[in-house]
Symmetry: C2
Subunit: 633 residues, 2 copies
């Protein structure tokens, strides 16, 4: 403390003017006790007399903020609650980001300095256009995108770059706003930098330093500094940060809401658990579909899924299938059986990592075409082969045509509002059956090995109670078959996402079939605003935020209308099922301002990405303190 | 009346058993007076004694129903209100559909008879697959699609056919449900028909009649009959239907809600007015963009719209433009000026047709790519030319590449949730300015010619009050400029669509800037359910309705949650602006069940397609009667 608040030159004052210095020390201590915080003091001494000019709470780095708070509690100046109120969630976030190695940074050559527009360290090779950024990244390079200023046309380059550097524009410029939105470090408005697109070079008029396309540069988005070369970074290790752990321990004593995590793999789950996650709020099964050999199996299943399902329905109705239909069913069932084995293994890993804690597993959600090759690439291939006069029977041409036709059948005008979520399971019931078997058999296996697996199965995109009712019936029949085959009973919970606006209005009906709700606020925001996030964030939404039409990006912080919809769902849901467990697993679950809103409407937990878990622990504690204070008022 | 309820064989009874016949006549009349409706009577005579077995209200054709109701009022048996309650809106609909010429029908050869699955007359050449249907229609032919049964794979063929005929399936079969959804006549479950896909022929096992691909056939979806050849139809002329006009006149005395129409052209407006429309509730300006030479002008404007807008912004900020930028601005302004002249002419025509009645004009709404060539066709063209080794400078190749790049930039993942509606006007303000000038100058011109034009300008897709506030400011500035140039003031109203779920929750804020609301229930349903209508109706939504997951198609009849959102908006909107005028212009505005829901939440008017106006007049009257009865209870 003393070292921080009394730099050496003030300490020297003690030798020169001992009386005045003594007086200064007494006033400073009194002010700190009064404001219960480190103070930045301004004063002057005229003719041996001390005049205090101004005092305000001191600015500090993240590490200092946490350190000071912990020290002040130790010294009895403030309580734990006051310490918690004083630390900003952004501080916790900063402590967990990779940072430049301090020694390396001292040795590095600073080329220029601009505005610290979006925090974090970005190291990459300089490129001077968005198209170049995409091209270099396509070759496996890391790049920093350097522009005089950015416009919506640069978005594709910003999205692939490590960081963004602009010569023009302030904290609300296009570059700055987009960079913060997509979580990329950015130094903006670096006016001393002369950027020349023709020669693909940049030169500082202040330092004289320069770099050209392909040269390594290192940005510090937290300070606005730009360094030549590739400055090494050090990863921030949570386990080394004892002050942070202490403070978050106090947060855990105070907060009412639990903090869970969104994790699809055992290693993510383990990381989040080390950060204090108390469960998995969202395990996306389809992420498991995309790896290596699995994608081929998934594609094989998808290509015949509808045909096979119709054939199975006819068979169930007593009709005989012909040889073609029998073959299609066999091909589909074989692919699904392989998937079941792979998914069971995945779930076993997750259950082991989260032993004793709840794991919410969401059944398959995205539109099926996301697992197939792109329509555009297939079309190009087919047109090329056709133009070359390739014979119809040519194997490559025939395969491409078949695949193109399959992809064309699955294509939708607005896939976000199309065949996905529970709609998929109702059209192709085998998706629900196979995933149910994989989850329950994984539970049985882990439990037999002495573990404590706690599955909660979650149905996505429910808008009408009948969707959940029918899916539940399907799932329970399959679960009973698994239990009968294994000769055991399996504990699992059954619940639903609330992410369709309609679901909020009929949450009382839905709660009759759901043991828990989890708000999918990404989709709820998309549909309530009528914004496709993919289209809006690089386009009109950015301009809306820049121009003040929207106060903030509703995909970052929960809009109050979304909160009103959620409150309606909580009220109706708990009205129909007292004690209904309600959480949030949209990205807002890691945003402090949104966490405060979740506290106000009485959610049981927030779930966020592993790296946001510590931030969420603090934010949930602060939200609880505010709620308590409001109740006491 | 007598002729209908006493067919000749019963009349003959009077000669044979005069006493019993006299008793029968007395009982029949008493029953009709009691039930106040035409009765179907079942009786038997045993040993000279009359036994009445059953009585029930008689089934009747649409013409008979209207005729009987009018006659019973004339005879003093029922009141006008009872007559209104008794006629079904479907009767009115049937009276306005084209029907087969009765003489021609008597002369026609009936081939077969199935279920009357979806009403109306369909005449076309027989085709036996959906792909054939599309191919024949592509050559300018009218077709009737003949299938053993239909599946979702047939949807593209059903959509282009005049009507659908199936050998299998009942009233809830795929063919029947889809046909009703898309408004096509359908005869389903025509079991006597042997359909052979291999030879593309069909033969009736009952009549022995047959037809092959390309033969003309005529379906009557109201009776289930199938005729050989092209049976001539007669159009149903409203002006000849005096009974209907009488009954609808009573409806007009009773109903509280006005009935407006959705019309984009003067001739549609005139037709709707002849049917009794009291205003235009939706005039879609973009439909005017698609005709003939206009499309080229629109495309020219769109291709440079963003570049020109950015250049104009820079110019407004005092920056100098280079030659390229100046040229782009000039090209854009020239195209927009041409459009302005054309649109002003359109509006003048509409104002003249609706002289003295309100005309709600919606500013441009759809995503811009809808006006450009398809991405797929352009991509095929570019890949073909590339594969052929076409030189880069080749004019066709260069033009295709330029256009493809432009279309690719405008493409969106989910255009329904993308850059459209008011978002477009906020990104490219010239769209708002040019349309405002065209509307106001059209009003000035029509008024100077002695007319009484009443424009109401409507902003689509508003979700946040600031969108409306900023658009209104932009529009009013332009309106003032027009007024100043013309030296007159122009009366117009300013209002908004309510079609984004969020807008319902903040309708009080929005009402501060809107003089009227119009519910766009198509989009409101899409977003509240998370359904893309284009994708859902041919796919999972159909299965949902077939399987009873949804009680009905929410795009046909307003779902109760949509009604709850609308009620919230009405309450909040009128709370902030008493007397706020509120209507509906989604397709639900022509659906009787939905009209009843609109009455309950107090809308001022419903707006529907011209042909639905008479139906809506009756339905609005019936809804008012029910409301009055409910209030009186």
């Amino acid at each position: 403390m003393a070292g921080i608040r009394t730099p050496r030159k003030i300490a020297e004052m003690g030798d020169v003017m001992p009386a005045v210095y003594g007086e200064f020390e007494r006033i400073a201590e009194r002010l700190e006790r009064h404001y219960r915080d480190m103070q930045d003091l301004e004063f002057t001494i005229e003719r041996g007399r001390l005049y205090m000019l101004q005092t305000r709470s001191g600015k500090r780095t993240a590490a200092a903020a946490v350190r000071i708070a912990a020290d002040m509690v130790d010294e009895g100046i403030i309580t734990k609650l006051e310490a918690l109120a004083r630390i900003e969630p952004a501080h916790v976030d900063q402590l967990l980001r990779d940072q430049y190695d301090p020694a390396a940074l001292r040795a590095a050559t600073r080329v220029a300095k601009g505005l610290n527009a979006s925090p974090g360290a970005a190291v990459g090779r300089a490129v001077f256009s968005a198209d170049d950024a995409v091209a270099w990244v396509g070759r496996g390079e890391k790049v920093v995108l350097v522009r005089i200023e950015t416009s919506p046309d640069d978005f594709h380059g910003m999205a692939v770059a490590q960081g963004i550097l602009t010569a023009r524009g302030g904290a609300t410029s296009h570059a700055a706003v987009v960079a913060r939105q997509i979580g990329k470090p950015c130094v903006a408005g670096c006016a001393e930098l002369l950027v020349d697109y023709a020669t693909k070079t940049a030169r500082s008029t202040d330092s004289g330093g320069s770099f050209a396309e392909g040269d390594w540069i290192s940005l510090d988005g937290s300070t606005g500094e730009v360094f030549a070369g590739s400055v090494p970074t050090v990863s921030a290790r949570y386990e080394d940060q004892h002050d942070l752990q202490t403070v978050l321990g106090w947060a855990d004593e105070v907060r009412r809401m639990q903090v869970w995590t969104n994790a699809d793999k055992p290693e993510e789950a383990a990381l989040a658990r080390s950060y204090g996650a108390q469960g998995i709020g969202l395990c996306r099964t389809e992420h498991m579909f995309r790896e290596g050999e699995r994608l081929d199996i998934v594609r094989d299943a998808i290509l015949v899924a509808f045909e096979a399902t119709r054939a199975k329905e006819r068979r169930a109705a007593g009709e005989a299938l012909d040889a073609d239909e029998t073959a299609v069913v066999a091909r589909f069932d074989a692919a699904m059986a392989k998937l079941e084995v792979l998914q069971q293994g995945d779930f076993e890993g997750i259950f082991r990592a989260m032993d004793g804690l709840p794991v919410v597993i969401r059944l398959i959600d995205p539109p099926l075409h996301e697992f197939l090759p792109s329509h555009e690439e297939l079309l190009e291939q087919v047109v090329r082969l056709r133009t070359l006069g390739t014979p119809e029977a040519d194997p490559e041409y025939a395969a491409a045509r078949t695949l193109l036709a399959a992809v064309a059948r699955l294509r939708e005008q607005n896939p976000m509002l199309g065949l996905r979520g529970c709609r998929l399971g109702l059209m192709i019931p085998d998706f629900v059956k196979v995933q149910t078997r994989a989850i329950l058999n994984a539970q049985i296996a882990v439990k037999r090995a002495g573990g404590d697996p706690r599955a909660e199965i979650m149905i996505p995109l429910v808008g009408h109670v009948n969707e959940l009712r029918v899916t539940r019936r399907l799932l329970e029949a399959e679960a009973k078959a698994v239990e009968a085959a294994a000769g055991v009973t399996v504990d699992y919970k059954f619940g639903t996402m609330i992410e369709i606006p309609r679901a909020c209005w009929v949450a009382d009906e839905i709660a009759q079939y759901a043991e828990f709700f989890s708000f999918g606020t990404n989709d709820l925001t998309q549909m309530t605003f009528g914004y496709s996030r993919d289209d809006a964030e690089g386009g009109f939404l950015l301009k809306y935020v820049e121009d003040g039409i929207l106060p903030e990006n509703p995909f970052q912080t929960l809009d109050d209308v979304i909160v009103a919809e959620m409150a309606l769902a909580v009220e109706k849901g708990r009205g129909a099922r007292p004690g209904l467990k309600v959480g949030i697993c949209g990205e807002h679950g890691g945003d402090p301002a949104s966490i405060a809103k979740c506290e106000r409407i009485g959610l049981d937990y927030v779930s966020c990405s592993p790296f946001r878990v510590p931030v969420a622990r603090l934010a949930a504690a602060q939200a609880a303190l505010v709620s308590t204070a409001e109740r006491d008022r």
